[in-house]
Every structure is written in structure tokens, then in C-alpha cells.
Symmetry: C2
DNA sequence: CATGGCAATTGAAACGTTTCAGCACGGTGA
DNA sequence: TCACCGTGCTGAAACGTTTCAATTGCCATG
């Protein structure tokens, strides 16, 4: 069923039918109604390739995942939010997976040149992310989830990683902790650097010297969390508190803590960053886990909104937000234990 | 840059250029080479909408997610595999999220009518899944991840859920366990029913009566795992072993077990189904967890392969596989404890 | 009663490919 | 020498939309 056939069926020209369906004003109200009913009845939907060719719009936005390993739990949650927003405008999400940076750039070029998507979401940025320049050169609109350093204006949504970790760290310091372990994300990623700065700033404000032996940078997996925590705990002066970058890391860290027989919230404190996964809940842990919390799903939805704004031509400088992060205190944090052992 | 302009640049007709790039044989070898080099140099990529319009192919496959909550860790892993396979043929993945079944059907109709995708992946089937009939009626090719009952032939990839759980249960029975808890997936889903059958069959073979109080059906989340396990443990005759449907459920179940002070692998045994997530590893748990294991990422890649076969016109009856599932024994399983308490 | 203007509609060009049908050219067999 | 064939190329139709420019009635205005 194509437009020609369909418009003959309803007894109107292709032009009028097309306009009726796309909501143009110069069609009489009851004509429009008649057309829309007929479309439903005959199951007519404009061919997307033809529409795309005629309008120059693809009706889809793209996301490129580097190394399919990047496709983790954070991703799914984000995509859920993004999809729920774009669905409203019948915009689809187009996924590409690539193995390395070279391939990634080639993919952006292909997406742009073949006009396969109208815009892309850029995620996991590093401090100076070359994708901003590349995409601008290609003329491919984008919204970044996260931030980077750039002279060129760009649209982004980020959370206040700096403030979140600074606040969490300050709170641990308030509780008397002086040796604090920090399981952070991959080195180079903006969010990890921001968290690092927040952490150091909080320490500096109390004149506490950071100890590099209590820093860990890696993926947010259960395994990495376990490994880092083990290293921290085997330190001659083990930390009395630890910050975990995600609930996954926290699970691993808790496991390491438990296996030493220490009690969380009494012998050692833990604050984890919680991206709010439906299937893992800080409130359900034993003990419940204190968190810095920000819904990554909500972020996905907001990025979808930003994409629509970018495509509508809104000024890029006006399309950005940095969301504050909640600090939720639960049972896993408590006053620093008296360090009798380390006095001797 | 379009074909007309590009072909003028290389001094050939549009026809020849198009053929050179698409690998048709009636082009001289060095002409082809010259064209391909030029394409790279000028960054020419055929417009996807135009190609789609001319060929009738969309160059994309679709997946519909019901309630964006379905977008969980299993999904991401599966998509990673799927993407890595489809990437090879420059086929993109198009994602739609819908809120309910009605909307889902409408989306399939839209995808089919607007020729937006060449095929779809159908996942999480129920015993009698109406999507087979719908998609056949719409003429939209598909590959199912899982199985359903259908008179019409269809392509699918599934794992042997029945055999996996039967084997795991038999093993627990061998170890002397007689009361076994079972945290299963959502009622109605084929995989959950198959597992249920495998479980009951194993019990029946040893003439052990199943106890409905030790059955749980729900989502595979940490929370649900915890809740079910708590219920099991508060039973007057608590189980001495438990099967968990996923690593997520297992995490929750382990938490519940731990909070009673029981020791896993000695006081109570656990076997979990492991879909092989990169960020949660059964080998890293304390104690390490015995699992029935099958890589959902590998399944994604295989489904991608099947999609290509379906599109190439291969007979549907010849496109299906049921993968065997490994049983990996680790520390979380051990002989049933002597039930001194229950003797009295 | 002619004129202009407005509302509703239409014909046809344009979008950028693929591919059918056809053409030029040189070589081969009779 | 001529018909025939295969190789390598080209012109133009077709795909299904959107949208510009034009057309038809009809009503109000002077």
C-alpha cells in the first residue's frame, strides 16, 4: 500500500493526503479526519525511506558503542529512558557497535554521509574529547552525556560528579575518617576526573593528605570492586571508609570486606554511587548502603529531550544541564572506629 | 556529495559507479579500484534513504522492548553480541520501546508498513506467543530468541532450559538434598516453564514430591531473589538447596542466606543460572557459585547470523538451534546437611 | 458586475539511489 | 569480409514520498 494507491482509495490527491496525515493546516478539518480514519483502516504508513529521501530527515538518532563491552547495565538503563522520550516523536534509536576508536570515527562519517541518523548521542567522554570536533566537522548534530573541554559550543547533560564526591567525602571526614579508599572509574574519563577532583578537594579542605595506595581506577564491575578493596585492606594502614563508583563496584567491595570478617557501617564505612538500577537496590542490601544517587534513566529521557531541541535549531549554548546529586545516608556509613592498633 | 556529483568527479556514469561500489561483476577491476579509492577520498557514502527506496531494503533490523523495564542486563549483553555480528554486514539495529502489548503490536505494524526494518528479533516469548502469527501476517521476517508453540514454521535460537535445570536438580538430589527451593522467572514465559518442567521431572524421577511453598516466580532482580529466599528460609521445613534463575536473583538469595548466619555450600547449597555477564562473575563470589552457564552474548551473535539467513531466503525450518547448557560445579554446592533438627 | 482575496485542493518536480535495456567496441569464427 | 559475441560502459525509468507553484470555486468588496 503506497500513497498513490491509498489516495485513490480515499478519493483525494496525494498532496492532500500527505498533508492531512502530517498535520498541515491548509486541509479542511473533516477531510483530515476522513483521511486519518482511512489510514488506520487500511494500515497505511508512509514508507520511511521515501519520506527520508524527500525530507532529508532520517527519523532516527544514533548511538555508537565502543567495544561491545561498553554495553553494560548503565547503558541499558540510559537507553530505556532515551527510548521512552523519543518514542513520543516516533524517532527510532539506531545502534552501532565498533571495536576501536578508528572504527568509531569511520562509523560517524558513514552515519553522517549516508544521512542514516539525524543526530547522535555521545557518551563516556574523556577530558578532551575529539568527537566534538569530528562531529561538528561532519555537521552531525549531537548531545553529549557527560562533559568535555571544548572551545566549540555543544549540548550536554551531566551530573555534578565533582560536587557529589566532594560532599560524600566531606561527610566521611565529618565522621572522623581520615583514611578513605576510592574506587573510581577509568582514568581519563571526564566523570572519573571530576570525581577525583571532588575527592581531593574535600581532603584538602581538611588538610588530609591523599594516599595513592588508596586509589583505584577501573571498570565498574563486581570483580574490579573486589580486587581494589582487597588491595586497600591489605595495606598496612587500611582505610576506615571507602567510596565506590557504582553499585557493581560496591557489591565487589562489600564481598571483600565481608570476607575479612569486618562489619560494614561499624568497622568500615562505604558510600557508593547509585545510578538507580531497577534490579539492584541500595535499600535492600545488608546493611543498607549509603549512596550518592542520580537516575541514569531520567538522564536518558532528558538527553532525548535535548536531542529534539538541537534538531529544532535551538542555540547549543542554551542546551545543557548539570544535575545535582543526592547524598542518601543509610547503614553502611558510621563514625570512624578508634584506631587503637595504629597508635602503637 | 551525491552520486551524480561523485560520478562526474571520477568521470564515469552513475550506473558504473554504483555498480563498482556494490561489487557487481560487470565492471573492470581497475575501474572498480579507482572508484573505491575516490569514494574513500571524497567520503562518499550512498544515501541510505535513497538506497532503501530503490532497493526496498532498509538495512536495519528491529527490536521492540516492552515496558522500558525490560531493558535489563540480559538485554545489553544480548545486544552486544547481536551488534557485533550485524556490524559485519553494515546492518544497524533499531530499537523501539513500548509500554504495553497493544502498543507493541502497533509498533510491529508500523515497522512493517513503513518498511523501516528488514526483520525483527522477538524475545521473551510466552508459551503460545501471538507474535508469530502477527509477524507472519505482516510479512515481517523474524528470529525468535527462545521458543513458543506454533504450527507455522519460524526461526529460533534457544538454550536447553529444561535439560539445564533437570541436570542441576538431579545433581542436588545426588548430593542428598530433598527440599529444594526454586527461584524461577516470570510465569508464562517459555523459558520459565521449561525450567519448571525440568525441575519437576528431576524430582519425579526420584519420587520427591514438589512443595509449592518452595517455588517463586518473578523478575530476575536482586530484590526478588532476596524476598523469595527469605520466604523459603522462614518455612518450617526450609530447603537445604536452592536454584536461582539468574546471577541477579542469586545475589539476593545469597544475601538472605548470609543474614541468617548460614554458610553457603555447607549449610545450604546454591546453583544459579549464569548468562555470563562481564561485570558479575560466579568465580569471584565468596564462596564461588555453581552455575548452569550459557553465554547470552554468544546467543546474540548467533541470532544475528540467523537473521541474515532468514533474509537470504533460507528455509525457516532449517534455521533453529537449541544450545546445551553447561553445569559448572563450584563451592556453593555440597552434600545435604544431616537434618538433626527435623528428626525430632 | 468585474476584481481581488481566501480556502481547499491538485499536478508535477525533486530527493538520490538501483537497475533494466541498450550501445560501442574489439575480437573471433566461418 | 561479415555476422556474432562478450566486455565494459551509459541513459533513463522506477522507487514513494514531500512540497512548490498553480488552479478552482466561492465570497466579499467597490
Amino acid at each position: 500500500m503506497n500513497l498513490k494507491e491509498f489516495s485513490r482509495l480515499v478519493g483525494l490527491s496525494q498532496t492532500t493526503v500527505s498533508r492531512a496525515l502530517s498535520g498541515y493546516p491548509e486541509v479542511k478539518a473533516d477531510t483530515r479526519e476522513r483521511v486519518q480514519e482511512a489510514a488506520l483502516k487500511y494500515g497505511y504508513h508512509p514508507n520511511r525511506s521515501a519520506t527520508g529521501l524527500a525530507t532529508g530527515r532520517a527519523g532516527a538518532i544514533g548511538i555508537v558503542f565502543r567495544g561491545s563491552s561498553e554495553f553494560g547495565p548503565h547503558t541499558s538503563e540510559f537507553m530505556g529512558g532515551l527510548g521512552s522520550r523519543l518514542e513520543a516523536d516516533e524517532i527510532d534509536i539506531l545502534i552501532s557497535t565498533v571495536e576501536n576508536q578508528e572504527e568509531e570515527h569511520a562509523t560517524y562519517r558513514r552515519l553522517a554521509a549516508s544521512k542514516r541518523v539525524d543526530a547522535v548521542v555521545v557518551h563516556s567522554p574523556v577530558i578532551k574529547d575529539d568527537r566534538v570536533a569530528l562531529l561538528n566537522e561532519l555537521g552531525l548534530p549531537f548531545v553529549m552525556h557527560g562533559r568535555t573541554e571544548s572551545e566549540q559550543p555543544y549540548a550536554f547533560l551531566d551530573i555534578d560528579n565533582y560536587g557529589a564526591i566532594k560532599r560524600a567525602t566531606s561527610h566521611l571526614l565529618d565522621l572522623g575518617h581520615r583514611r578513605i579508599g576510592f574506587i573510581n572509574g577509568l582514568k581519563g574519563r571526564t566523570f572519573a576526573e571530576h570525581r577525583d577532583q571532588g575527592f581531593r578537594k574535600a581532603l584538602a579542605e581538611r588538610a588530609v593528605e591523599p594516599d595513592l595506595a588508596l586509589f583505584g581506577n577501573g571498570e565498574f564491575t563486581d570483580e574490579a570492586g573486589y580486587r581494589f578493596m582487597q588491595v586497600f585492606l591489605s595495606n598496612p594502614q587500611p582505610p576506615t571508609a571507602v567510596l565506590a563508583g557504582s553499585m557493581m563496584s560496591a557489591l565487589g567491595a562489600m564481598r571483600a570486606i565481608r570476607s575479612t570478617g569486618m562489619m560494614l557501617g561499624r568497622d568500615i564505612s562505604l558510600v557508593a554511587h547509585d545510578d538507580v538500577f531497577s534490579y539492584i537496590n541500595a535499600d535492600n542490601m545488608v546493611p543498607t548502603v549509603s549512596t550518592t544517587r542520580s537516575s541514569i534513566r531520567a538522564a536518558g529521557a532528558r538527553v532525548g529531550e535535548f536531542l529534539m531541541q538541537v534538531l529544532s535549531g535551538k542555540k547549543l549554548d542554551d542546551i545543557n544541564e548539570v544535575w545535582p546529586v543526592e547524598l542518601v545516608l543509610r547503614e553502611s556509613t558510621g563514625p570512624a572506629p578508634l584506631q587503637l592498633a595504629s597508635v602503637g
